[in-house]
């Protein structure tokens, strides 16, 4: 037991969790903690320019590194500004711990200055949240928060810290035990369920594996590839699962869903056995729930039992860590499996993959075509480069046409679909992995939502590259208005404002405009060799569609190709 303030206890507890970086913005109700940070040498605090970006940066840091990301804000508006970032991390199962200041205990509930009920507000978008009632509780709460955030199905946890708790002096004891009666994640699969899954897989004629974000989270990429190769099963991924298998692997068929590849969507619909790993059957992934994989027996592996049967009822549910479940299946399968003649099924896969290539080619023409641009970006970037995306057309072009070869090198807002996520997430990813290039594939609509943090990236010398696919329009909304609302474009025109080159320069970043593929190549290479953040403005047509596309609520095979 040591006598110290709550603020000091917080920093000590964070250090025990090996926290090295906090993304945050100070304010009145969190000042005692910032005062402790003044003399702190083991933890770097990165001053962001908007709390939403602090949360997204912590999220990007977590996804790139696999470690818990930490963000911090003051009470009231600081805390509510974190909300979008927390919700985003929650939907995509990203482990972050958000620490918010709160008004002093005696003022809670009195509508004090900068008071917000952040516990009430974040209850549905956190795995768990805590309001600290005394300094002595801090070590246990911090320990518990990190444990919950980083185990089971990962996700955000919030700690709300009243100002007078931060200044309170108390006898503090650090203890590494976490005891939670209501939280015991199941990691080991039930042997009977594994046996059943193996039986089904042994009989499969047209097997397909779908890998979700859980495969990356549980570090099970090698296991997916081994199983796919043993079974000769094509592997599709969800958006969150992109990178789980190298997309140049012969059995990789890319992403499935609303903007899935031809191969992924057709093969999933035609499968007789679907092994779905670490994914949650989101509507954007399945299309119409009722017609999803109509003749297939679905084996669903997920660590979150509540995902089993929520959207799609599986034939065999397996609640477990993806890695352990896949290892168990592989071991049993290896004993019993006889290599099957799968040439018809694989021939079908090749044929569908070729069809998809045709879609890319048909996008050739005048000006810079986004699919071709994605191919170009891939050629220039090293394989270990981290790609983040904004949300909308830029995101789907990247998901469809920018092949990713390593897990944790594709970071995108999947569940919440948060425009403005990619840039601050890139900052967080660059902090986590300073030695690899980090590139945000952006649209002009998304980038403007969080561009103020160019200031952060310049001031803190965190050089990232932002590629703005600039069509002067909210592209995905315009695409829906074009396809489903009779071209009645409304509230989508952005007027080519601002000039992103000048905007970048105003922040002390580098701005380059690329009007042709050749100029773009030069620009990206310049950016890669630069030690300052670079914004590459790439004008594209506002008439471009992301294709293929399945209209919302329809069967995955109802692909629009042109």
């Amino acid at each position: 037991m040591v006598l110290m303030s709550g603020a000091k206890a917080l920093l000590e507890a964070l250090k025990r969790e090996k926290v090295k970086v906090i993304f945050g913005i100070p304010g009145g109700a969190i000042l005692p903690v910032y005062d402790e940070l003044f003399a702190e040498t083991d933890i770097t605090h990165i001053l962001m320019r908007h709390e939403q970006c602090a949360a997204h940066a912590a999220d990007g840091y977590a996804r790139a590194s696999g470690e818990v990301g930490v963000c911090m804000s003051t009470s009231g508006p600081g805390a509510t500004n974190l909300v979008t970032g927390i919700a985003n991390a929650f939907m995509d199962s990203s482990p972050i711990v958000a620490i918010t200041g709160q008004v002093p205990r005696a003022l809670i509930g009195k509508d004090a200055f900068q008071e917000a009920d952040i516990i009430g507000i974040t209850t549905p978008i956190t795995k768990c949240n805590f309001q600290v009632r005394s300094a002595a509780e801090i070590p246990k709460i911090v320990k518990t928060a990190f444990y919950i955030a980083s185990t089971g199905r990962r996700g955000p946890v919030l700690i709300d810290l009243p100002r007078d708790v931060q200044t309170e002096e108390a006898q503090i004891e650090f203890n590494d035990n976490v005891e939670l009666r209501g939280y015991k994640p199941v990691y080991d699969p039930h042997p009977l369920q594994i046996e059943k899954a193996v039986q089904i897989l042994l009989q499969a004629e047209r097997p397909v594996i779908v890998a979700g974000g859980g495969v990356i989270a549980s570090n099970a990429c090698q296991e997916v590839i081994a199983l796919a190769e043993l079974l000769a099963a094509p592997v599709a991924t969800t958006l969150m699962g992109k990178g789980a298998v190298p997309e140049n692997h012969p059995l990789s068929v890319g992403m499935l869903g609303m903007h899935g590849t031809v191969a992924a969507n057709y093969l999933v619909q035609d499968a007789d056995v679907l092994l779905a790993v670490g994914m949650r059957f989101s509507d954007r992934t399945t299309g119409n729930f009722k017609t999803f994989c109509p003749n297939g027996k679905i084996i669903h592996i997920d660590i979150d039992a509540s995902e089993i049967g929520k959207n799609i009822k599986p034939y065999i549910p397996i609640v477990a860590d993806a890695k352990r479940a896949l290892q168990a299946i592989y071991r049993q399968l290896l004993e019993k499996f006889r290599k099957k003649e799968r040439s018809a099924w694989l021939e079908r896969m090749w044929e569908l993959k070729r069809m998809h290539e045709e879609v890319v080619k048909s996008n050739d023409g005048d000006g810079i075509k986004p699919p071709a641009l994605m191919v170009e970006i891939r050629k220039i970037l090293p394989n270990e480069a981290i790609i983040t995306t904004e949300v909308g057309q830029n995101q789907m072009w990247a998901a469809l046409y920018l092949k990713v070869y390593k897990p944790r090198t594709f970071i995108s807002s999947g569940g919440l679909g948060t425009m403005g996520f990619g840039f601050p997430a890139a900052i967080g990813a660059k902090v986590a992995c300073p030695n690899v290039p980090v590139v945000d594939i952006a649209g002009d609509g998304s980038f403007i939502m969080t561009e103020q943090d160019l200031a952060t990236s310049v001031a803190w010398k965190i050089p990232v590259i932002v590629i703005v696919l600039n069509n002067s329009i909210l592209g995905m909304v315009a695409q829906w208005q074009r396809l489903f609302y009779g071209r009645r474009y409304f509230a989508v025109h952005l007027g080519g404002i601002p000039d992103f080159v000048k905007l970048a320069e105003a922040y002390g970043a580098q701005g380059i405009r690329a009007q042709s593929i050749e100029e773009f190549r030069r620009a990206l290479k310049t950016a890669l060799n630069s030690d300052v953040t670079t914004v590459i403005d790439v004008p594209i047509s506002s008439e471009e569609n992301v294709l293929p596309m399945v209209p919302p609520g329809q069967d995955l095979k109802n692909l629009m190709l042109s």
Partner: protein, 172 residues
Amino acid sequence: MCMGLEEKTYMISAIVEHKPGVLFTISNMFRRRGFNIESISVGASEQPDLARMTITIKGDESIVEQVIKQLRKIISVVKVSLLDPRVTVARELALIKVNTPDTKTRSDVINYTEIFKGHIVDVAHDSLIIEITGDEDKINAFIELMKPFGIKEIARTGIAALPRGMKSTIME
């Protein structure tokens, strides 16, 4: 529902941490997921730091399965079990204020209360408050009987339930 599953009433017993915010977390989850709760009751359990919550819900099997899974996912929820109505004692308490403008209705109401083993807990010039406990059907039946007299107010606690015999809901 769409899959032809039968709609029934289910009783769920949940042991939860007895601390502020837990009821909010649980009811907020029900609201957000669109689960229709018939009744919810909560109070102390045999362990000082745990509370017992009894939830009744109308729905089909797949809905009740989701309700249980979503409850289990909440970190302050320690244990959730689906109660089998055949081996469960379920009781509710109701307070019913009935109009009794004259001696005739007053004695009728008192008679019915005795038959239902209820208690008169408050007497005023023109009304009585009856306390009655029992399962939901018994209370509904009593309320039907009282309707012709004119019910002024009703307060019901919602169902509290325990499995019969040696079965304990705290042990797995």
